[in-house]
Symmetry: C2
Subunit: 352 residues, 2 copies
């Protein structure tokens, strides 16, 4: 391996001069510096000590990385913007892949050159976050919540707006409202499911298990839910989706079946980014600013590192509810579901 010593030998100077050249000491003769740097670069020299700054925060997955998902991409973009102020860089790592069984989390992060970490975790790996917090390593968990007072987190709170969304449908006259979510029982989706039930309850609409649809969070999952809803006897007149892709997939399927939104069915989506604007009609949605979550997490973490303080953050950022064009009054014939048992299925068959 290349070192100051080997470079000094090749350049015919002392290690002192090599060190100075590498650190841009103005005292060094420019020609000497040139020669030294050329040799250093050619031999792949890497300082094993010293000047190398260490201003990385980690964006770390406990399990598989899912960086291509719109939510994660937006979060990461926010993290980069948030880390900018204190001039930190962002290192993407994966605990599952690289942590050695014999090292602590702190050791793992320091080995990677990480001074603080933003963690993205699945439900089953929550204990990892608690362990990192117990070690005292600077950390913020993204998009989860913890009861323990020493685990920092930032998450979006979609509960109030999910209730608002369902009540908006109720105010428009809807009574049979379907709920679509994905089959991974993460906190966000369970929150929204609870909110859906709470909104029904507050408005004395009985909860009906047959109106709840679980699918993989894909366009096909959303399409499936739409088709199932439209083929039901006394079908729902609205669907509230807790997942962006499901909502988009449902809209796409509606077009394919010549079902009009919102004339035939109202749809409310959930959006972490800008997907609601990519379809027609623009989706009335509960919206979460994923980039904002990442920004906030990174800014707080890096400020904490700069100030060398130790703080615990437990922050819930409320979502916001946007009304667009995908919601309206229920179709006249279906307002009272009990008196028009078969209209839904009939209309669906006509559409197909």
């Amino acid at each position: 391996m290349s070192s100051v010593r080997s470079i000094a030998k090749l350049a015919g100077v002392s290690i002192t001069t090599v060190s100075r050249a590498l650190n841009n000491d103005p005292a060094v003769n420019p020609k000497t510096r040139e020669r030294v740097l050329a040799i250093a670069n050619r031999s792949g020299y890497v300082a094993s000590v010293g000047r190398r700054v260490n201003t990385n925060i980690g964006f770390t997955y406990t399990d598989e990385s899912t960086i291509a998902h719109p939510f994660d991409a937006a979060v990461l973009d926010g993290i980069m913007r948030g880390a900018d102020e204190q001039r930190y860089d962002v290192l993407l790592t994966n605990l599952k892949r690289d942590k050695r069984p014999d090292e602590s989390y702190t050791q793992f992060f320091l080995r990677k050159g990480i001074r603080g970490v933003i963690v993205r975790t699945m439900r089953e790996s929550r204990s990892i976050c608690e362990a990192i917090a117990d070690e005292g390593f600077p950390m913020i968990v993204l998009s989860e919540r913890f009861a323990s007072p020493n685990v920092s987190y930032i998450d979006g709170d979609s509960r109030a707006d999910s209730i608002r969304a369902v009540e908006y449908l109720i105010a428009l006259g809807h009574r049979r409202i379907a709920f679509g979510f994905h089959s991974i029982p993460d906190r966000d989706h369970m929150d929204r499911f609870a909110a859906y039930k709470e909104a029904l309850d507050k408005n004395s609409i009985p909860y009906d298990d047959s109106l709840v649809f679980r699918q993989r969070y894909t366009l096909a999952g959303g399409a499936t839910i739409l088709k199932m809803v439209m083929s039901m006897k006394s079908r729902p007149t609205a669907i509230f989706f807790a997942d962006p892709l499901l909502a988009v997939g449902a809209v796409k399927q509606a077009h394919a079946l010549h079902i009009s939104i919102p004339e035939d069915i109202s749809i409310i989506g959930f959006d972490d980014t800008d997907l609601r604007f990519g379809v027609h009609p623009t989706l009335t949605s509960v919206c979460q600013d994923a980039g904002g979550l990442g920004f906030e997490a990174a800014q707080r973490l890096t400020r904490m590192l700069t100030n060398r303080e130790k703080e615990i953050f437990q922050i819930s950022v409320p979502t916001f509810f946007e009304v667009h064009e995908s919601t309206g009054a229920p179709p006249a014939g279906l307002i009272d579901a009990t008196t028009s048992e078969d209209d839904g299925a009939a209309q669906f068959k006509a559409a197909v």
Copy 2:
């Protein structure tokens, strides 16, 4: 700052023992190790030398970071998968923000702990890539091409498929084919524009400047192009978009105007990810596997680093052309544009 010395003092052991504990030497008494690690973690100890591995590649922007764009997000996802095999991590950095004027690119990267770099650049910053290559630092430029034989790059070659796409429209009977692209003169878009012209030329269709539309790469830009096309006298019967968002925006606008695709107008999009599937009808598209580009770049770079070889890669990955539902024969009344001067504008007005 915390060091082996200060920790040794606090723990009441020698620096030797501290070093061993930090490196998980099995010879250390577990209780001693516990005590040392606890102190190390508490005092925020960071090894300034030694064991810290340095297996980072950089994903570096020369200008602004655009990580939230679907193309970049997909690329990064591919990079992470590609870096996995050799167990590299990915550090996101920005040359514009952090490079000191007095340091070489190599020094910048080494200071950041980066052993090789994947560069994303704008047209105006191509010279930076050449400078990095001249220094001999391991690098692959993503999604650009270079004539210089010592600059490594990997890019998607969409030219052949862009010609194929336009010729597919011609084969369906289209003669007036509009071209929509964004206003940033990057290589990709200029390539596709050239291909559009070449396809017309090969088929003896005169190029018409008024059928070429430049807009910002937003949904609104695509919507504008669709509206402009539909309101033209002797309007085009098809549009080929060189940008994903423009195509999606056009489809959305068509729905809003009750214009049917492909019955009223055929649309071919360009897709770096999966956007073509998110709309109805699924867009016939020239497709580029952005994740694959990132994967390939990262895998080759990290393998090169592992093998300590120096290679130059100049790789063009062909795109692929997918026919879906957004293309069909031109509307009967508009097949020969010269005989139906006003049909397009009339139909548009009726739709509005």
